[in-house]
């Protein structure tokens, strides 16, 4: 199938849905695609019926409203469809999104693409982090919410940021014993106080947070500030975790070490934007200190350096669902104007209310970024035989060997060790490698640069590529 549309939105999370719905209201022909079965993304993961007892909360009212809007809109929705590449077709002058669905291959061409691919959990590498039973907070929530499976009976959470609380509350609700929630940021309160203005007006969020906190207090789950897991052990799967209090730079403090029996270790050291498509397209990238990675450079309408490629939400910098939706509205309006759906007398401009909303959400995002930073020392927990790249089974000692050869960037390490060459194209190990290299060379992490991404973004059978396009062949 080969179709044309005016706008393709990749990712049906809060930002993607909002952008699609808003653009459609202006009369834009929109196609929304997402790899999961139901819209909502990571944030609005739709709960199975048995968990619907808490559907009265802030989050789900908002989500429900958005889903209803989507259903009522003219947006063409393709769920369970993986976008494996974005190409430029010079003949049509359009962007071409190649899709892989369950029983179909297709491509959609459009002059404008919005990338709204969100973010995923950030990992740190510690001994045993690749054991079965060690998983990210996002993976644990997917197991509980989408598959109805309990990740473990006796779990410990370690990481940074508010998503941990949500995951811990979900685990408690689902019947697991949660031994503790470890927050590695030790100066949380002190840093947080200066940000009180940013929290002002975030009542819905505070309500959401308090809800999770209430669940954890009721279950008597200790919340330990300035602690982190430093090692996981077990034969076939995780059986024991070693935790420690860490100092301001993230170094474990001697004498504080404890060992706990667990059957699940949930880790979530904040979020990493899914920047794969921007790197695949060679968009201009800039370093963002709060995420510690390169993100796409965008203008005031959230357009990247490539004309027609827009980016909204967490994929272009962690800001949360509310910020994603504000960005989406501004972007969608701009696109409707670009495509000629907003007539001249309705001359396009960003409303002052939108600017206020944007500023408010940016303040909140900045606050979260500053409060929940990961101390550098936690990037030094790996031991010589700790696997850094799980796809290609590359250890820290191999990474260090590459650095001793003279590697100066993550790509140099990749070419020597194969780290980042596997299925996931370095989604997990890319940021870890950057930190290890920077620490080893004593340079800022941005000098480590970033890994290239090439299509397909997800592995693909050759027969699927053959089905995908049937251009005219001569010769």
């Amino acid at each position: 199938m080969n179709t044309k549309t005016e706008l393709v939105v990749i990712g049906a999370g809060p930002g993607g849905i909002q952008a699609a719905v808003t653009a459609a209201k202006f009369g834009v022909d929109v196609t929304l695609i997402d790899s999961s079965f139901v819209p909502g993304g990571q944030y609005y993961k739709q709960l199975p019926k048995e968990f619907l007892k808490d559907n009265k909360n802030h989050l789900h009212k908002k989500a429900e409203f958005l889903f209803t809007e989507l259903k009522r809109s003219s947006v063409h929705v393709f769920m369970n469809s993986v976008a494996w590449g974005i190409f430029h077709n010079p003949k049509s002058g359009l962007w071409q999104v190649k899709l892989q669905c369950n029983n179909c291959s297709s491509q959609i061409e459009a002059p404008i693409i919005i990338i709204a691919t969100g973010a995923y959990d950030r990992s740190i590498a510690f001994p045993g982090w690749n054991l079965p039973g060690v998983m990210t907070a996002g993976a644990a929530q997917t197991m509980i919410k989408n598959q109805g499976i309990l990740p473990g009976k006796r779990a410990l959470l370690s990481g940074s940021g508010p998503l941990q609380l949500a995951a811990a509350a979900n685990l408690v609700d689902a019947g697991a014993e949660v031994i503790a929630v470890l927050e590695c940021g030790s100066r949380l309160l002190r840093k947080g106080i200066s940000h009180i203005p940013a929290v002002w007006g975030q009542w819905g969020r505070m309500h959401e947070g308090l809800g999770y906190a209430g669940t954890l207090v009721k279950a008597k789950v200790p919340y330990k500030l300035g602690w982190s897991v430093i090692k996981a052990m077990g034969n076939e799967k995780v059986e024991e975790v070693v935790i420690a209090k860490v100092d301001e730079i993230g170094k474990p403090i001697k004498g504080s070490i404890q060992t706990h029996d667990v059957d699940a270790l949930i880790v979530g050291y904040g979020l990493t934007p899914s920047t794969e498509f921007f790197r695949l397209l060679n968009c201009e990238m800039k370093f963002s200190p709060s995420e510690g990675i390169y993100i796409p450079d965008r203008n005031e309408y959230f357009e990247t350096s490539l004309p027609g490629i827009f980016a909204v939400g967490d994929c272009a910098g962690i800001g949360g669902a509310e910020l994603a939706m504000v960005e989406a509205k501004i972007t969608a309006k701009r696109i409707a104007w670009k495509l000629g759906h907003v007539s001249n007398d309705q001359s396009f401009k960003i409303e002052s209310s939108e600017i206020r909303a944007l500023k408010k959400e940016q303040r909140f995002a900045k606050m979260l970024g500053q409060v929940f930073t990961i101390p550098q020392g936690l990037f030094k927990l790996a031991e010589e035989d700790t696997i850094i790249c799980r796809c290609e089974q590359v250890t820290l000692s191999e990474v260090n060997k590459a650095i001793s050869y003279g590697a100066q960037s993550v790509t140099d390490i990749k070419t020597i060790t194969r780290s980042g060459m596997g299925n996931c194209q370095g989604r997990t190990c890319g940021t870890i490698l950057a930190q290890i290299l920077a620490a080893e060379l004593g340079k800022p992490v941005e000098t480590s640069q970033f890994l290239n991404i090439r299509p397909p973004v997800h592995p693909l059978l050759i027969e699927q590529i053959e089905e995908n396009a049937q251009p005219e062949v001569t010769g």
């Binding site: 003949k91 090439r454 397909p456 050759i462 251009p471 001569t474």
Partner: protein, 406 residues
């Protein structure tokens, strides 16, 4: 980097040729900087199959260079004290018509005399050389039994690792933006991170050579095209003994007859069992690494035409890199007239196999002002090119383009 560091030699371009030159010059005791716009192997060297091939040599003047350089691989890993996964392999090029064989006849006379095995095999002999190939419908094949292959990424790093130990300054993510020339002599280069002062400058810049030359008024006759390839996951469904290529090619239009992917089948298996599949070439003087929307498809149908079982192989990655050719099939290597101290070492037809000798030649030029390992006069950057080598001539009309991935 200091504001204006001083070097004996500044090499531009950390591809396999630049890395080898850095190794040889630092070994000879020179104080050397190697400047690279991005990471090591940003261009064709990082996008390469690692074929250490002698059978596609330009046959008029290049045979001594390729033979000498190929022999260096016997001891290269020992010399560099690192494995680059070098292995001997054979190359089998499938012919579907007699006219394709006609094009290779001269080569089949000249190469064996020079010591490079190269022969025609009839269809009935193909299965004994490569059981997985169905010979029905083929006119035969050319077979080169004594070829080689390395991991091209490790080869660059094997040179660099030694060069770093020998005092090299490797400056990555540093783009050369201009040249410093006084009274007809090179004094250094301008870069995105400041000036570098050096008595000699070597351009090992392949596809970027022409663009850099234009900064100082030269128009070196190096053409570029974008070559694409892809790699599968470990695939147990096929075992190959040879590097298998096709003389057949297809042209797939991208944007009118002047902008097409010209695709041959080229297939090789890595020691880990992944398949490398190539090669879609898109003519045009464009230096980006963005793959076309056609190339993955074109490479897929060419590969499965010969090996249908590959339909079930999973593609991990596709990529594109700008690569070069010259009309006479020979590199540009030697001093540049009118700018004392400026040396070119660019557009080797097969950079991997020629990388050892490129390093030796440039070191001799810097050491003694001339090269006596082989005769490099035919490769002079100043030469007038005559189109001696039809296979690398890319015309813009359909069906006139002949490619040779032998």
């Amino acid at each position: 980097m200091k504001k204006s560091a001083t070097y004996d030699v500044i090499i531009v371009g950390a591809g396999v040729v630049g890395c080898s030159i850095a190794y040889h010059l630092t070994k000879a005791g020179y104080h050397v900087a190697l400047v690279e716009q991005k990471h090591v192997g940003t261009g064709a060297s990082g996008a390469n199959f690692g074929m250490v091939q002698s059978n596609d040599v330009e046959i008029k003047h290049s045979i001594p260079m390729v033979l000498t350089s190929y022999s260096r691989f016997d001891t290269l890993e020992d010399e560099l004290e690192m494995s680059v996964e070098f292995r001997r392999t054979a190359s089998l090029r499938l012919l579907s018509s007699e006219s394709q064989w006609e094009n290779s006849k001269e080569r089949s006379v000249i190469l064996p005399k020079a010591g490079i095995p190269y022969e025609y095999v009839p269809p009935e002999r193909i299965p004994e050389l490569e059981p997985e190939v169905d010979p029905r419908g083929l006119f035969g094949a050319t077979y080169a039994s004594y070829q080689g292959q390395v991991n091209p990424l490790l080869l660059m790093w094997a040179y660099l690792r030694k060069a770093n130990q020998q005092g090299l300054d490797l400056l990555t993510y540093t783009e050369v933006t201009g040249f410093i020339i006084h009274n007809g002599a090179i004094k250094g280069v301008k870069t995105s991170k400041g000036d570098l002062v050096g008595g000699m400058v070597v351009l090992a810049t392949a596809a970027w050579t022409r663009r850099l030359g234009k900064l100082i008024g030269y128009d070196w006759n190096i053409h570029t095209f974008r070559a694409s390839a892809m790699v599968t996951e470990h695939f147990p469904g096929l075992k190959l003994r040879n590097i298998v290529t096709s003389a057949d090619h297809i042209e797939t239009e991208i944007n009118g007859p002047d902008d097409a992917e010209l695709t041959v089948m080229a297939l090789t298996q890595t020691p880990e069992g992944n398949f490398l599949i190539a090669q879609a070439d898109r003519p045009g003087e464009v230096l980006d690494s963005v793959i076309s929307h056609i190339a993955p498809y074109a490479m897929s149908i060419m590969a499965t035409q010969f090996f249908p079982v590959l339909r079930k192989a999973r593609i991990l990655r596709t990529w594109t890199a700008p690569t070069t050719y010259t009309e006479d099939g020979m590199p540009l290597i030697g001093f540049v007239n009118d700018v004392r101290g400026l040396i070119l070492a660019a557009s080797f037809r097969s950079a991997i196999v020629n990388s050892p000798i490129a390093g030796e030649i440039v070191t001799q030029l810097i050491d003694q002002g001339y090269c006596d390992i082989i005769d490099i006069k035919p490769f002079s950057p100043q030469r007038k090119m005559e189109q001696a080598d039809a296979v690398y001539k890319v015309k813009t009309s359909q069906s006139s383009t002949e490619k040779n991935l032998d």
